[in-house]
């Protein structure tokens, strides 16, 4: 039944994408909300309910959580990283190719935001340190690093390479995530992640964390190839396979017999 429904929504959804792709990007907010509602009914309401109230199965399991009050930021993150729509209800939402274009995401976000007050999509000025002086930037990056190491590395690893969570869950790698999506993730706490609301980490602190992560990306690998930034396990593997492999190979070469000839030595 669920599969049939998903197939059905998927089919309709494809049709909708084609018809709405040309939607006027200058539509006013009400139009945007209306457009978003149309998209929502087709693509999201099967799990999240007709009015985003969420749906529970008969035995009380949450199929789709209520979206009232999650805000535009949550939609922008979930849909914008391809996590939503889900391919199937599973243990953890996967990052997939994004199913909607930017205008449609904006429309969906506007609609969900209209359901109840929630965090808005951050503006670039919220997560960029462009406007700061060099000195302020340096301070922001180093403070961001300390906040990152305190709040984020436990799950996402020291370099943002990701880590394991209970029961097959994992904290994703942050190496490809756009600053806006990182900001939204902190704000809304997608999936099992805790949220870091503005009462928890102030907007400036969130900005600093992002600045630190971006600075890590721009930083050269001073020591050579980074081996995935996963720490000692991979380093140990490299020591055995590359290091010891080369040296045992050298030992085999040193002790190997060289070519021989059947000729005899002629000198006296």
């Amino acid at each position: 039944m669920i599969i049939a429904g998903l197939l059905l929504t998927g089919g309709i959804f494809t049709a909708v994408v084609n018809t709405t792709a040309q939607a006027d990007s200058t539509s006013s907010n009400e139009e945007l909300v209306a457009q978003g509602r149309d998209l929502f009914l087709v693509s999201c309401s099967f799990c999240h309910g007709q009015n985003g109230e969420g749906i529970r199965s008969e035995n009380g399991n949450q199929i789709g959580p209520p979206l009232v009050g999650v805000g535009a930021a949550a939609v922008d993150f979930q849909v914008g990283t391809g996590r939503m729509p889900l391919a199937q209800p599973g243990a953890q939402d996967q990052v997939k190719p994004v199913a909607f274009d930017d205008d449609e995401i904006a429309a969906l976000a506007a609609y969900v935001a209209s359901l109840g007050p929630g965090p808005a999509i951050p503006d670039e000025s919220d997560y960029s340190i462009e406007g700061l002086s060099d000195k302020e930037r340096e301070a922001a990056i180093s403070r961001g690093g300390q906040i990152f190491l305190t709040n984020c590395t436990a799950c996402h690893n020291f370099q943002g390479s990701g880590g394991a969570m209970p029961h097959g869950g994992k904290a994703p790698s942050l190496s490809e995530t756009s600053p806006r999506h990182i900001y939204e993730a902190m704000l809304t706490g997608p999936g099992q992640m805790d949220s870091f609301s503005n009462g928890n980490l102030s907007p400036d602190e969130k900005r600093d964390v992002i600045a630190y992560l971006v600075s890590l990306r721009d930083m050269p690998e001073y020591g050579g190839f980074g081996l995935g930034g996963l720490g000692p396990v991979v380093e140990g593997l490299a020591a055995w396979l590359v290091g010891l492999g080369l040296l045992v190979g050298a030992a085999v070469w040193i002790a190997a017999h060289t070519t021989r000839t059947s000729k005899k030595k002629v000198d006296a």
């Binding site: 990056i141 690093g145 994992k170 020591g223 000692p232 396990v233 020591a239 010891l244 030992a251 030595k265």
Partner: protein, 582 residues
């Protein structure tokens, strides 16, 4: 053998005894003062057998030299102090952050001292290789039976080197005082506190008060650069002296016996090969240090007891007790107001000590079971000691499974599985896996022994298919060349253990002094040799040859002239010959 020709073979200007060379002059000068000629006489041309597996220990030796060289370089800049400073160096991301002087000086070595980062990384890679090559060397020695009399003490020294090397590694990677290693020290504090009765005292004495205090880095530094390297040097010297005294073991083969050693002389060939290998080990370490990033402490940041990173693991050689710690169920006993933390004590304090004790005792356990008190200088192939080989494979399997447990979080994210399920699986696998590995290895070895006997008795497979007039196909087997057959049979038969336990007379009546232990030993010895395949007897060999000749005649009778098959194995040239016309 007349070696005068050899000595002259490749040089255009041979050193003639008539005109003393400069080297001879130097040697004379030295001998007149040191009297070393009588010792050097024996050792300058000392023979070392040539085999790649004999050079594994050399990797360890040379990585230790690399460690000494790079380590001395690092000490010139490293400050082993936990005094708090504010960082204002080159690395921007940490500017303004408070950290220990140890961490700040590590950053300075990495970013401000040219070549400092390379030396740091080479030091770390060499440490990983040092322990890894010691372990591979240990396995070679065990699998070939090279630890047997008279080399048991050298095995014990080698085991101590492995233990000290591991501790040296731990104390070393803890020195930068970064977040990862600090987390390791904190866990170590937890291990120490789990010791019954004295745990809390030991922790407070080690850290100079409450964890983390400000003493641990300087104390570890002294241990790392003075105490353990001194012990390592002394033990390595003893290890090498014993090697020279015992002379190296060798593989059996034509001309190689228990009473001789065949190989290349120390000067020049072995010295050149060993010396060249030093440069290769050093070079490979430089290659690793230059291209592969290791322990990027600047990304971990300084140690802070409230911070942690995902993927907090020790270096690989500490990984297996850490793995045991991860899969241990949470058992704790509270009794009379005291706490016994089985969950920490068993995997991290008891298990490694137990495993290490077993490792050190292996030669003595082996000698006790087999009752073999003779000297051994010829190596055994692993297949010819099935139980011994299987025992080590079982230990390796257990080690490997604990190791996997130590990386269970990385495995979970890379293989998309659940750490909970990996843990449940490993809790069972560390007990079942070694048993399965033991049984499989043992049967495998015995099957290989059978194969050897098969080849000896019926010859090797030539790959030549013979067709009989009836249309049946058979493969031609040919007897092994003499030297190969000699090598295969140059092993001992296992002792016969048909009789009753040791200490019983022919009627099975126990001698008065033979206790229960003798009976136990007999049972173990029976199991030790059970199902092993012995090399053929003389009668079996003759029978096998007779059979082969008979078959050959049969084929000759049918075809008029049988091909001997040597056309295809390189034993004689095939030009101008065809199979049919032979």
């Amino acid at each position: 053998m007349d070696t005068s020709k050899v000595a002259n073979s490749n040089t255009t200007t041979a050193a003639t005894p008539a005109k003393p060379s400069r080297a001879a002059a130097a040697a004379t000068w030295a001998d007149e003062r040191l009297g070393i000629a009588s010792m050097a006489k024996k050792n300058l041309r000392k023979v070392f057998p040539d085999h790649w597996s004999f050079m594994l220990g050399e990797i360890a030796l040379w990585s230790f030299v690399v460690l000494l060289l790079t380590g001395v370089f690092l000490t010139l800049w490293f400050t082993p102090s936990m005094g708090e400073v504010q960082y204002n160096g080159t690395y921007e991301q940490l500017r303004g952050v408070h950290m220990s002087e140890a961490f700040a000086s590590t950053l300075r070595i990495s970013f401000d001292v040219r070549g400092g980062l390379l030396m740091r990384q080479m030091h770390h890679w060499a440490a990983m290789l040092f322990v890894a090559s010691m372990m591979v060397h240990l396995l070679r020695v065990f699998f070939t039976g090279a630890y047997r009399k008279p080399r048991e003490l050298n095995w014990v020294i080698g085991s101590l080197l492995l233990l000290l090397g591991t501790l040296e590694g731990f104390t070393g990677y803890s020195l930068p005082d970064d977040l990862l290693s600090g987390t390791g020290i904190r866990a170590a504090d937890g291990f120490i506190k789990a010791s019954p009765v004295v745990g809390t005292y030991m922790s407070f004495f080690l850290f100079g008060g409450e964890f983390p205090g400000e003493s641990i880095i300087p104390r570890l530094y002294t241990i790392h650069v003075l105490l353990i390297p001194g012990l390592l040097l002394a033990l390595i010297a003893a290890h090498m002296l014993l090697l020279v005294y015992h002379k190296h073991t060798q593989w059996p083969g034509p001309g190689r016996t228990e009473k001789n050693v065949v190989g290349f002389p120390m000067l020049p060939v072995y010295a050149a090969k060993a010396g060249g290998f030093f440069f290769i080990v050093f070079g490979v370490t430089a290659l690793l240090g230059g291209l592969l990033s290791i322990n990027p402490v600047w990304k971990y940041g300084p140690y802070d007891p409230s911070k942690v990173t995902a993927g907090s693991q020790p270096d690989w050689y500490m990984g297996w007790p850490d793995g045991a710690l991860r899969i241990m169920p949470g058992l704790e006993t509270h009794i009379w107001g005291y706490t016994i933390s089985w969950n920490v004590m068993l995997p991290i304090l008891v298990l490694p000590l137990l495993m290490f004790t077993i490792l050190m005792l292996l030669p003595f356990i082996d000698a006790w079971i087999t009752g073999d008190k003779r000297e051994h200088h010829l190596l055994e192939r692993p297949r010819n000691a099935p139980t011994r080989t299987a025992l080590m494979v079982a230990l390796m399997t257990m080690y490997g499974l604990f190791w996997i447990a130590g990386g269970n979080d990385i495995i979970a994210i890379k293989l998309h599985s659940s750490i909970n399920q990996i843990t449940y699986f490993l809790r069972m696998a560390v007990f079942v896996g070694p048993v399965i590995a033991f049984l499989i290895t043992r049967r495998w070895c015995i099957a290989l022994q059978r194969k050897d006997n098969e080849t000896l008795l019926h010859g090797y497979e030539t790959g030549i298919i013979m067709r009989s007039p009836e249309g049946g196909y058979t493969e031609r087997h040919l007897p092994l060349p003499e030297s190969r057959a000699y090598t295969l049979t140059a092993r001992e038969r296992d002792p016969s253990i048909n009789g009753g336990p040791e200490g019983t007379d022919a009627n099975g009546i126990p001698a008065p002094d033979a206790g229960r232990l003798a009976g136990f030993r007999h049972r173990v010895r029976t199991l030790w040799y059970a199902d092993n395949v012995q090399k053929p007897t003389v009668a079996e060999l003759e029978e096998g040859h007779h059979h082969a000749e008979h078959e050959h005649e049969l084929q000759e009778g049918v075809e008029g002239h049988a091909a001997d098959g040597h056309q295809f194995d390189g034993h004689h040239l095939v030009e101008d010959e065809t199979l049919g016309r032979h």
